[in-house]
Symmetry: C2
Subunit: 282 residues, 2 copies
């Protein structure tokens, strides 16, 4: 498979390509790192215009089967609307993979029924201890997607478009804060009957509580089939002690809002972060 | 005026009443500190049920002319919907004063047309250096409201209800993060034709940028007359340097979203925080 890497958020460690290329080759993939990945302007991997242009370029290039977001951080919401409106026909038959801040784009793609958004580890995960395993899982998953592609049906029209609402147990996965910050914008997808998995990193319990208030109070989110709680890591100590843990907080907001709590999900900012193709049945 | 203080968020410093009472008396007010203000359970000023009960009790008590939120922190969103649905007729002819986390309640009150929500300094501001001045301004402002009250018209039906949409330049003020976190919930008020003032404290520039993306991408917020930027204090250093300041960030999101940027507002987490009665013309 031909995979393009772009960085809609923060700049990518320039040592990543040399470490990723052999892994990709071992799975039969070719990876193109767009030069934009290594730009840096303030917080971001280059100016908004450069990030939009790179993303639009690879999405609209029929030579690529997948667009892999290089890393998270922050910045995808600044380019998502601009970029998505420029996506053409070739963009519709692609996989889009990433998590964390990339969720702004996965959400917007899913809202518009463009391609197959996939919550998945990213190239930058190579910088985690043991991250090769996470990256290799993505490459193996894409390789398994490849066979039907060669049969000309790897990403049928049915798979590209959002499944019809009578289907249930359709899965999606988001960083909690990112999901909260896209509610009510054009990036918010219809998650009716979906199983929504959330994960978080580096947020105080009071902020997790507030974000859970926000998402579970949203009429669109209240139409989900149920919520699954991924891993919430690097939670700074709350002063005073918050008095409850993240699972009891989640259960409480689910109970208050009439959303089914469906247990733990295998996602998070770590090397075990599961691959969750949006809209597929669990 | 008879003023009731309750704490829907965090617990109040128990030394505040002895310092506030003489100031209040000097302005002709009597202040009742509900005992709930001094409860403490985990992060909050007592359990949710106790915070709801205290707020409902003072709102529905015709003996009080104003409900003053003791302090911010976090917790008002956990009690707002429960409490507001229990507000009866006596709750409609009261002032409700506070800022920061209390914005969840001011928003919900304004959304339901209950009483007169007022962005204003709080009793806990006495713990800021020079905070007596901020608290005294609120007491003086309420005293000025009192005269028409004695004539039986201090808070007419017209003033209580949200002004009709043909009015413009109606003012509101919120903490940016609080506003972001209530968008799409039942607490979101209709701010059509309003001048929206925002302020922030203790947030990274990348988070301020993300929150501004969120609020300026909301269809309801896009119907405002214009945005004014209050003070954003205690911004932690961004790594790497964010590359733009908070005013240029705000101008940029206003420009992108078609919202008029109307300059600076005199609000913030400080002793100069202005009193902004919701829905009154600037």
């Amino acid at each position: 498979m031909r995979i393009a890497v772009v960085a809609p958020s923060c700049t990518l460690d320039p040592t990543i390509p040399a470490r990723l290329d052999p892994l990709a080759a071992a799975h039969g993939h070719e990876v193109y790192f767009h030069p934009q990945c290594f730009l840096s302007e303030g917080h971001f991997a280059g100016p908004d215009a450069a990030r939009v242009a790179a993303l639009v370029e690879v999405a609209n290039d029929p030579a690529f089967d997948a667009v892999w977001f290089a890393r998270g951080g922050y910045g995808a919401c600044r380019v998502a609307e601009d970029a998505l409106t420029q996506f053409g026909p070739a963009a519709r038959s692609k996989y889009y993979l990433g998590y964390s801040d990339a969720g702004f784009l996965l959400a917007g793609l899913y809202a518009r029924g463009i391609g197959k958004p996939v919550h998945a580890p990213m190239p930058s995960d190579l910088n985690r201890e043991g991250g090769e395993g996470a990256v290799a899982r993505v490459l193996a998953w894409l390789a398994a997607c490849r066979a039907p592609a060669q049969a000309g049906a790897h990403l049928s029209q049915d798979a590209r478009l959002r499944p019809s609402p009578e289907h249930t147990n359709l899965q999606t996965a988001f960083n909690l804060t990112v999901l909260s910050q896209l509610l009510g914008t054009l990036l918010q997808p219809d998650l009716t009957n979906h199983i929504l998995m959330i994960e978080e990193v580096g947020e105080y319990l009071y902020r997790i509580d507030r974000s859970l208030f926000h998402i579970t109070s949203n009429p669109g989110i209240r139409r989900i089939k149920g919520l699954m709680l991924g891993r919430c890591s690097d939670i700074p100590p709350n002063h005073p002690d918050f008095g409850r843990d993240v699972e009891s907080i989640t259960r409480e907001w689910c109970s208050r809002s009439g959303i089914a709590y469906l247990g733990r999900a295998d996602i998070g900012h770590d090397i075990n972060n599961a691959i969750i193709p949006f809209g597929e049945t669990i």
